[in-house]
């Protein structure tokens, strides 16, 4: 496969991983922050500060991945009957609006603004889930006139549910890690609502770890059979095992009332998100394999044409290599053709006469054969370069004229 096309799935995986983790934490922590504010509890600002610390975070974890995804999918599904990059541009636009609104909410702390940001981000995540789901059904692409009827299918809802559950999980783990174990930001003991936050975080870890397996199994039933691969199954099983580790760690933290495993839980959660995104990528790669093959073939053909043009520019002026012609004749042509008898293809003595004054025509035919005589199968394209074709054509005509002359003198 052409270099950059085969690289795309890896980049898509990485960008989706970063984007889903970041927006997941953003969505759930914003929701929690709003809930705290409505209930007039302390801790609302801390919750939002979790991942929205500085501009760099926004740019590298939010903007860059979603914009890259637009470009990556634009490349990956180039020429597909589905304008996937347009949907992604819309999603990216929505996400960016929500980022701006959330930044404003951070400054002025008004519930209405925060609510607007939440709705925008929620909707953009939902559309992302529906776009991802569309990718699994390439056979339906050519029939999709407007994507609207497809955004509420059961597959989309399952996909979105998995996004939400995953978001809650990663938020819980992030709160635990950043506020209870990581030196820089650890909440001091006297912080009001510290315990509430702690149990909220552990709850957000434990709940999703128990729900996610059901969602994963559901998803296995939803996705089309032709998109399922071994990679998809393997990552499903590994996700379950990593969820088991997370649930045991957080159970121990609840029962023994400590937060020592916060870092371990956070790392396992990131691994889980990675595995989950990998399963999505595997699904998408299998479903769209045909399209990437097509893309690779088209690119290869374009490259061949370019090489042919360049070759034509240089080789037509070079002298013809006679030994090369004879060599190729013995390796290839000989398998189907003889000069004086019919084998798989017609006898040269019968067909070469018409090229006697048209060597270029013969070269063209060898480079790009088409059906001439219905009594014979069409000659397969031998994939020879122009140099090879010139050599073989010269060799054929030389032998032909020699035998024809010989025959004439007899």
């Amino acid at each position: 496969m052409i270099g950059h096309v085969s690289l795309l799935p890896y980049l898509i995986f990485f960008m989706l991983f970063v984007y889903l983790s970041f927006t997941g934490i953003l969505l759930v922590s914003l929701g929690l922050s709003l809930a705290f504010r409505i209930l007039r509890q302390d801790g609302s600002r801390e919750l939002l500060d979790l991942v929205t610390g500085d501009t760099k975070t926004w740019i590298f974890l939010g903007l860059l991945p979603i914009v890259s995804l637009v470009f990556l999918f634009g490349q990956y599904l180039y020429d597909a009957p589905l304008p996937i990059h347009q949907y992604l541009i819309m999603i990216a636009g929505m996400a960016m609006c929500s980022f701006v609104v959330i930044v404003i909410y951070r400054r002025i702390q008004q519930i209405a603004i925060g609510g607007l940001g939440f709705i925008l981000l929620f909707a953009s995540q939902f559309f992302l889930a529906s776009t991802m789901s569309l990718l699994y059904y390439p056979e339906h692409w050519s029939f999709i006139k407007t994507p609207l009827p497809h955004i509420f299918s059961i597959t989309v809802l399952t996909q979105f549910l998995s996004f939400l559950v995953l978001s809650a999980l990663v938020t819980g783990a992030a709160i635990l890690f950043f506020y209870f174990q990581w030196g820089e930001r650890t909440l001091p003991e006297e912080t009001p609502n510290r315990n509430v936050l702690k149990f909220l975080a552990i709850g957000h870890v434990l709940g999703p770890t128990l729900i996610l397996p059901v969602v994963i199994i559901l998803q296995f039933f939803m996705v089309p059979r032709v998109a399922v691969s071994d990679d998809f199954f393997a990552s499903g099983v590994l996700t379950l095992l990593s969820l088991l580790v997370i649930s045991l760690l957080s159970l121990s933290m609840i029962l023994k009332n400590h937060v020592r495993y916060a870092a371990a839980v956070f790392i396992c959660t990131l691994i889980t998100v990675g595995l989950f995104v990998f399963s999505l990528s595997a699904l998408q790669a299998t479903a769209n394999r045909e399209h990437s093959l097509l893309l690779a073939t088209t690119a290869q053909r374009a490259q061949n044409e370019l090489t042919a043009i360049q070759e034509a520019r240089y080789t037509t002026t070079l002298p013809v290599d006679e030994n090369l012609g004879e060599k190729i004749y013995n390796e290839r042509c000989n398998a189907c053709h003889r000069f004086d008898s019919v084998l798989i293809g017609p006898a040269y003595n019968e067909v070469l006469a018409k090229y006697k004054d048209d060597l270029a025509g013969l070269i063209d035919f060898i480079r790009n054969p088409n059906k001439v005589n219905p009594a014979f199968p069409v000659m397969p394209n031998q994939g020879l370069s122009l140099r090879d074709c010139r050599a073989i054509a010269a060799h054929l005509m030389k032998v032909f004229s020699e035998t024809a002359d010989g025959g004439g003198s007899d």
Binding site: V237, L241, L293, C336, I344, P377
Partner: protein, 174 residues
């Protein structure tokens, strides 16, 4: 005391729950394994070489596709027409020659199957100018043929509608 016992029970319950889910997943896999979408064939015939590199038409070998209900697996005589003399030294071609010489049929594995209650005719679709790739995908880029379309009813009906083909139940069902 009772609290202690419940505390000890939690971990096994969790492990049991997750292991159960793993078993369900593996079970699903095993169940689906039965319907292999890309079975290994007795001879590793490559469509990439024949239809892709050599540029042979589908109908070059699948000669009945425009005249009959099934496209038909090509008879060995079609393969041997070329391979009697062309590229006889490759192991897969040698296998083919052996089948031919011992007059044994090659038991190819079916890749695209429809349920018994569907009647599909290749000839009608070919006459209606439906390209082979619409249902079979880019076969000429596949070394081993793989089913890439669901072949589900909803999909058939979508195409029938878009092309104004009949959508009567009896068009496709017995």
């Amino acid at each position: 005391m009772e609290g202690e016992v419940t505390k000890k029970l939690w971990a096994p319950i969790l492990i049991g729950y997750f292991l159960f889910m793993v078993v369900v997943l593996v079970g699903l896999r095993a169940h689906w394994q039965g319907e292999d979408l890309s079975p290994e064939q007795p001879i590793a015939f490559s469509h990439t070489i024949h239809a892709g590199d050599l540029g042979l038409d589908c109908t070059h070998c699948h000669v009945y596709v425009s005249q009959s209900r099934t496209a038909g697996v090509p008879p060995l005589s079609i393969c041997m027409k070329c391979h009697e003399s062309a590229i006889t030294d490759r192991p897969e071609v040698k296998k083919l020659t052996e089948y031919w010489e011992t007059k044994e049929p090659v038991v190819w594995k079916k890749v695209h199957s429809l349920p018994w209650h569907v009647r599909f005719r290749h000839d009608r679709h070919i006459k209606a100018d439906v390209d082979c790739t619409v249902c079979h995908g880019e076969i000429k880029a596949m070394d081993r043929v793989r089913q890439v379309r669901s072949l589900e009813m909803g999909w058939c009906v979508k195409c029938h509608r878009s092309k104004d083909a009949p959508t009567d139940c009896t068009t496709c069902h017995k």
